[in-house]
């Protein structure tokens, strides 16, 4: 396909986080003067690959060569110096410094040891122009710029480093349509200047317009590389989904409407521009999934329901009655009965150095304390029961929870809320980074809870999970519910295409932003 010697080559790169394989013997070749698109579902290993390429983390196995020589980067700045520069999804700009300062932060021009402001400004202006953002003033403070402008500064900052390989990780996700057009022009020009570009995006039409080569990743491995335009969008999506190991999911019982009001109902829930008029009903005994790409407002929706976000508008109804939930304290109250299994178990779900006992107790003091005084016997009885019920493998409830395996830690997070006997359970990607066995246990547990009358709202980045577990799925895109799928409609094809905001029928059709 491409004859010339690649500029960059990765061979057999692997990376594990704990027991989870993020990247599994992945290969990649990058050629100068070409735009190479990387495709894959959430967790396919794309981000890990990039982190390895720019020295954020070190590979467990494998080697990388740049211009024929083997390289290993100790830090992002080492990779930058070698000519590999990445524009990350999370911005790396310093809010309190000016645009020019930010662009030149790593290698400012100096005179007599001082920063040569005039030269710095000239270079910054040049870089902004090259990035197609000449309208941004180099003296403006980054904190005063809107998100889309900041992204343009990021691009200028990357260009000012004179990269050989420029990596864009979802770099257009925050941009306005006109900025996207500009960025595309810039990228095409850079390509003609001989730069190698790696482009990661979920937007199919962007890839069709921009890329020369495409590589599809799945489960930490590169599945296929082909010239852009040689496959249809449908074929590409098939490649991304793949046919792989299937989880065994518990049966979904047919739910009969019982005429009772929904346990949780949302009416036109809004929060700034991150949640847009979200409405849905969740009944007791039902598991609803939240789908879509990562970061489309799913996390915000769960937080809003749990009373963490301020200035939300719209109504939340519990059992048909309007409820004002302004804090997690209110959310877990007897009357409302919400529970939230948060996104990050290490910083949001657990107090890692504390014991299993303390962690299990944290959300359910009322179950065993009277006037704030803990009834030790009652506490121990409840905790022992819960450890048995959820099958948490720990030698003693007094062990610190940090000594447990990841899967058991996640069970503690869930069990801690079950201690409180919640009626509505919100889960934010509860099986991310967890071994298969524990995943299955969690699926069975969720179904059992639903059967016992709980209402479950499950956000998951794993499509299999949504298909296998959920009675209905709400697919979110850009802060709104893009599509609701029920029963047999919940297929990978439907989930992926609506997540990408592409029409199911004609995948090629797409709307900008």
């Amino acid at each position: 396909m491409i004859a010339a010697e690649p500029l960059f080559r990765a061979e057999g790169l692997s990376k594990r986080y704990g027991g989870v394989v993020a990247l599994d013997r992945a290969d990649l070749e990058v050629h100068p003067g070409r735009i190479h698109a990387i495709l894959g579902e959430n967790g396919a290993g794309k981000s890990t690959l990039i982190k390895l390429m720019v020295g954020v983390v070190a590979p467990d196995e494998g080697r990388m060569t740049l211009g024929g020589r083997e390289v290993a980067f100790a830090s992002p700045s080492a990779a930058n110096d070698a000519g590999i520069v990445c524009i990350f999804q999370e911005l790396s700009l310093i809010p309190d410094l000016s645009v020019a300062d930010n662009i030149m932060i790593s290698h400012p021009p100096t005179r007599l040891g001082m920063i040569d402001r005039r030269a710095q400004r000239r270079i910054a202006e040049e870089a902004l122009h090259r990035a197609g953002a000449g309208d941004i003033h180099p003296r403006a403070l980054v904190r005063d710029l809107p998100l889309s402008r900041r992204q343009m500064v990021e691009i200028a900052k990357a260009l000012a480093r004179q990269p050989k390989i420029l990596i864009l990780d979802e770099a257009t996700s925050a941009l306005t349509a006109s900025d996207v057009t500009k960025v595309f022009e810039v990228l095409k020009r850079l390509r003609s200047e001989g730069l190698a570009l790696l482009y990661i995006s979920h937007r199919m039409h962007e890839i069709a317009e921009l890329a020369d080569d495409c590589s599809v990743f799945r489960n930490g491995r590169r599945i296929s590389t082909f010239a852009a335009g040689t496959r249809t969008d449908a074929e590409v999506i098939e490649l991304m989904i793949g046919r792989e190991y299937k989880h065994v999911f518990p049966d979904k019982p047919a739910r009969k409407p019982d005429g009772r009001p929904p346990a949780l109902q949302c009416k036109k829930l809004r929060w700034g521009d991150r949640l847009k008029d979200i409405s849905f009903s969740l009944h007791a005994g039902e598991i609803i999934g939240l789908g879509g790409l990562d970061g489309q407002g799913q996390r915000e929706l769960l937080l809003a329901l749990f009373g963490v976000l301020r200035d939300t508008s719209g109504d939340i109804l519990i059992d048909g009655d309007k409820a004002a939930i302004d804090s997690p304290v209110a959310a877990k109250s007897e009357r409302i009965g919400l529970a939230l299994i948060p996104e990050d178990r290490k910083t949001e779900g657990l107090m890692l150095p504390m014991s299993v006992r303390d962690n299990l107790s944290a959300a359910a003091f009322d179950r065993f304390a009277r006037f704030g005084i803990i009834d030790r016997q009652r506490q121990s009885a409840l905790i022992d029961e819960m450890i048995r019920l959820i099958e948490i493998k720990t030698a003693s409830p007094d062990l610190p929870v940090s000594a447990l395996s990841g899967g058991n830690q996640q069970k503690v997070v869930i069990a801690k809320w079950l201690m409180n006997k919640p009626r509505i359970i919100l889960l934010n990607d509860p099986t991310r980074g967890i071994d298969v066995g524990t995943k299955q246990e969690i699926y069975r547990l969720l179904r059992r809870l639903a059967d016992e009358g709980a209402a479950v709202l499950l956000y998951s980045t794993d499509y299999d999970e949504l298909i296998g577990c959920c009675d209905r799925v709400l697919v979110m895109y850009d802060g709104a519910v893009r599509r609701e799928l029920a029963g047999a409609e919940i297929t990978e094809r439907a989930l992926v295409s609506s997540a990408l905001n592409v029409d199911d029928g004609e995948l090629a059709e797409a709307s900008l932003t």
Partner: protein, 326 residues
């Protein structure tokens, strides 16, 4: 045309501090019973300069999102040291000054080394080192006393051309010679970057450790200059615990009034200087309006309290309560 707007945005905090100071000073000067005179300015500026030096020191550390609670004690220590060694012939005096400043730098370097390489919290570190510095000060001067080269002292606390207080000139010179080059240097830039967002600074390859170390070191130096001037004003050295603590405390107030963000990344030492001048003027206003001087500490405490509460208004804008937890 729009150029000045960006300048304004950059200097917002500093300009505000200057504004507050000018307003306070005008109220002070127009109501002063003796009227506006060179003498009055000299007295006022001598008092305020000391705090201004310490405030600059504090500002430089606070900009990196740290804090130095030992600045007052470094001032006390160097005051006691100066009352021993800044005496005698011109050469001896000069060597003495170098010794005093070197001691300040050393104190700052100790703070920096413990915070950066020992990875201890700046608060506890500087409280503890502050106690040590005070211990040394007390060893040097168990009782108030000592002397200073009076020619030098008078020259630096008097007036230039009969009008301009020399202490103010010295303050301005320090700002120009230390703050300006620092803030324009690569390290100074890195200090701002570190204070604003340490993660982004790391991702961008800024020299974080060097910047922090430099900040604590400069804070030591500036506190020592403050200690030197204290000796010039008082002609003696005194290991006064309460006064050392007060300087530390007021330096934080001055920094806040001077538009330096306690979260780091924003502000300037110039702002802190004017914050210090304004803080001193506020204290003096009480005399002008014939309040009992006994109310002065309370008044200063309340001003400090209000100043630190201003930052809390930012909370009203937080829409995701998880942001409370950083």
């Amino acid at each position: 045309m729009t150029e000045w707007r960006y300048w304004l945005a950059e200097q917002r905090g500093t300009l505000l501090a200057i504004g507050i100071f000018v307003a306070m000073f005008l109220i002070y000067a127009t109501n002063h019973p003796a009227g506006f005179s060179a003498n009055m300015v000299q007295t006022a500026s001598n008092k305020a300069t000391l705090l201004a030096f310490v405030a600059m020191a504090q500002a430089i550390v606070v900009i990196t999102a740290g804090i130095d609670l030992s600045v007052g004690m470094i001032l006390t220590l160097t005051n006691c040291l100066a009352s021993w060694i800044v005496v005698g012939t011109a050469t001896e005096t000069a060597l003495g000054v170098v010794g005093v400043l070197g001691t300040g730098i050393l104190c700052g370097m100790i703070n920096g080394a413990i915070v950066i390489f020992g990875r201890l919290q700046p608060i506890v570190t500087t409280i503890a080192t502050g106690a040590m510095y005070y211990g040394v000060a007390l060893m040097l001067r168990p009782n108030p006393g000592g002397a200073v080269n009076e020619t030098l002292a008078d020259a630096l606390t008097g007036r230039l051309f009969g009008v301009l207080p020399t202490s103010l000139v010295a303050l301005a010179a320090t700002a120009v010679l230390i703050w300006v080059p620092y803030s324009c240097s690569v390290i100074g830039r890195a200090a701002f970057a570190t204070g604003s967002s340490e993660v982004a600074a790391y991702m961008s390859g800024a020299p974080i450790r060097a910047a922090k170390f430099m900040a604590y070191t400069l804070a030591g130096l500036l506190s020592a200059i403050g200690g030197l001037f204290l000796t010039f004003f008082s002609y003696t050295g005194e290991a006064a615990y309460a006064s050392g603590n007060a300087y530390t405390l007021f330096s934080i107030a001055a920094v806040v009034l001077g538009g330096v963000s306690l979260m780091g990344g924003r502000g300037s030492a110039i702002g802190a200087i004017f914050g210090a001048l304004a803080f001193r003027t506020i204290g003096d206003l009480l005399f002008v309006f014939d309040f009992d001087p006994l109310w002065q500490p309370l008044f200063q405490g309340i001003v400090l309290m209000l100043a630190v509460s201003i930052g809390a208004f930012g909370l009203l804008r937080v829409r995701n309560r998880l942001e409370w937890f950083g």
